[in-house]
Amino acid sequence: MDMRDFTSLIRAGETAMRLMAVFSGIALAALMIVQTAMRYFLTSPFLGFEELAVLAGLWLYALGAAFATRLDAHVRGGFLNSLDPGDGRLRILRAGASLVCAAVCGVYAWTSVAYTLRQAQIGRVSPYLGWPRWLWTASFALAFSVMVLWFLVEALRRVQGRTADPAGAE
């Protein structure tokens, strides 16, 4: 596989994740609306809504967090942004900050992947739908893994002194 294939594969993956993010938002809203309506119009509600809503919610949280990394939309404080952006030592410091994030995500990617595999191993299922539980926890396992990559890319960009990513800043 040459570099171009690889890039387009990454692009496709990102687009798929974007669509999933929007879909999880729509799904969550739709589920909650239908559930509210059913509580009033049907005597015996379908309790599986609750677990579906939490499923949509977890994927929404996880993908949202991943894209907050991609689009540099995390909540942060600090004082570096008021200093000279051209300073070389500052560039290293900022790249270091990205590496800290990548490391944290690495630890959590490892533990959430391990946990997800354990769920699959014991064959745990959701109470109403009987869906495998790993579908729920896989959300953050994926998000943390993707965030490791994006933070490493960010660190590289910061070392080179590039601040914004044209693809991310649309």
Partner: protein, 432 residues
């Protein structure tokens, strides 16, 4: 205790070098766990369990509806209504900004949505009326906190969930303080604006823009109907807070598309995506904070902090004062959602021990930590206001801190020492 303190120092240092709040806390958690000999493997699963809460689902729903409304033209119609009543004089523009933020708060759970909806319209108008841009931006930032004090409110959802309290009851506790604070900001603005030099050209700008009361009300009717739908639904028992959030989306989307025409079906996808990212950026913070508070509980930290403060004094008011000081410092370092988790875990047991009513404590937390969103160095709402107002943190920090010291901080003290202020409404509506 030493391990915990070192992790806190690490977190603060990382925050100062602009590591995002979430991952600064995450790094602190990992170091804490390793040093205390706790199992790293269970940290992620324990946070999953807490995030999988049904009550938390109202947060993304309120963020989605708030983002939809900020972009749909609903906020414009709302501002027009306020404008008819308050917009006649130069100081009126600030008042319109403050009141619109509070009113927008009654339909939205996030301060950022209020800034997007109100700030983008009102900052240019205030500037045209001769307000310095830095002051106009600071005023929007400070009053966006009102959107969190008037329910619904994301930080209050997180607080109620962590403290095991009813979301509906916690929502009510900050309503009266929020309305009072809006009044205080209007008066403050009136005093400050008098000192700005008159610009004869601007005089034209701030003459009454809309005098057609009936027209404005008719146009604004769909926007003004939303607070009664959301809050009426919750407090009549027709819907739970989560269901009310879902219904607000069901209402906002068609109204935004067909009535106010600020939104197209195509833009809806974009808007949803932005709301998802905004949700993710705060959920990832609480994910790591759940871990931090778990470690603190396992190490018995809340109990020793409580014992430490109890050693200093047994007097309820002294304890409350100390709690407020701790929260104030916490609020500067982190945003209000993070602060409310830490307050629920560390300070709540202490407050209840001192005989403070849990719902009163919710009001103290809501009012005090509202400051945390606009108090540097970590001030997410201030940063959003700065980017909407195309200004810089350095310029805006001064007027922001002055406004907070004159209005928000005194209100925090009043809320702390007058429990009736926060408990009146829960008593009236919930027989609390």
């Amino acid at each position: 205790m030493i391990v915990a303190s070192l992790s806190i120092v690490l977190i603060v240092v990382l925050l100062l070098v602009e590591v995002p709040v979430a991952f600064a806390v995450g790094a602190g958690v990992i170091v804490f766990a390793l040093a205390a000999g706790q199992d790293l493997a269970y940290l992620a699963p324990s946070a999953f369990q807490q995030l999988g809460s049904y009550a938390l689902l109202s947060a993304p729903l309120f963020i989605i509806s708030g983002t939809v409304m900020a972009r749909s033209g609903i906020s414009e119609a709302m501002i027009r209504v306020v404008d008819v009543f308050l917009g006649g004089r130069r100081s009126g523009f600030g008042a319109v900004t403050v009141i619109s933020c509070a009113l927008f708060g009654a339909i939205s759970g996030s301060g950022a949505a209020a800034i997007a909806g109100v700030g983008s319209i009102m900052i240019p108008r205030m500037e045209a009326a001769g307000y310095p841009r830095s002051y106009a931006t600071a005023l929007v930032g400070c009053s966006s906190v009102l959107a969190l004090m008037i329910p619904p409110s994301i930080p209050m959802i997180v607080f109620a969930m962590t403290a095991n309290l009813s979301v509906a009851a916690c929502f009510l506790s900050t309503v009266v303080p929020g309305i009072l604070l809006a009044g205080v900001y209007c008066i403050y603005n009136w005093r400050v604006v008098r000192k700005f030099p008159e610009d004869p050209k601007a005089a034209v700008e701030y003459r009454v823009r809309a005098t057609d009361v009936v027209g404005a009300l008719r146009k604004g009717a769909f926007a003004l109907a939303l607070p009664p739908i959301i809050l009426g639904g919750i407090y009549s028992g027709l819907t739970t807070p989560t269901e009310a959030a879902a219904i607000s989306i069901l209402y906002a989307v068609p109204v935004g598309i067909f009535v106010y025409r600020g939104l197209t079906v195509k833009e809806l996808g974009r808007t949803l995506f932005d709301a998802v990212v905004q949700t993710g950026s705060f959920v990832i913070i609480i994910f790591f904070l759940f871990n931090l508070s778990r470690l603190m509980i396992l190490e018995g930290l809340p109990a020793s902090i409580a014992a430490g403060i109890a050693d200093l004094s047994q007097n309820r008011y002294v304890v409350l004062l100390l709690i407020n000081l701790v929260m104030l410092v916490m609020g500067m370092l982190v945003d209000d959602v993070s602060g409310s988790i830490l307050a629920a875990v560390i300070l709540m047991p202490l407050a209840t021990q001192a005989g403070v009513d849990p719902i009163h404590f919710a009001a103290i937390v809501g009012t005090n930590l509202g400051l945390g969103n606009v108090s540097p160095p970590c001030a997410p709402l201030l940063f959003v206001a700065v980017s909407v107002g195309r200004s810089s943190v350095r310029e805006v920090a001064g007027p922001t801190i002055r406004a907070l010291l004159c209005c928000h901080l005194p209100m925090t003290v009043i809320v702390t020492f007058l429990p009736d202020l926060s408990l009146a409404l829960p008593r009236l509506l919930l027989d609390y």
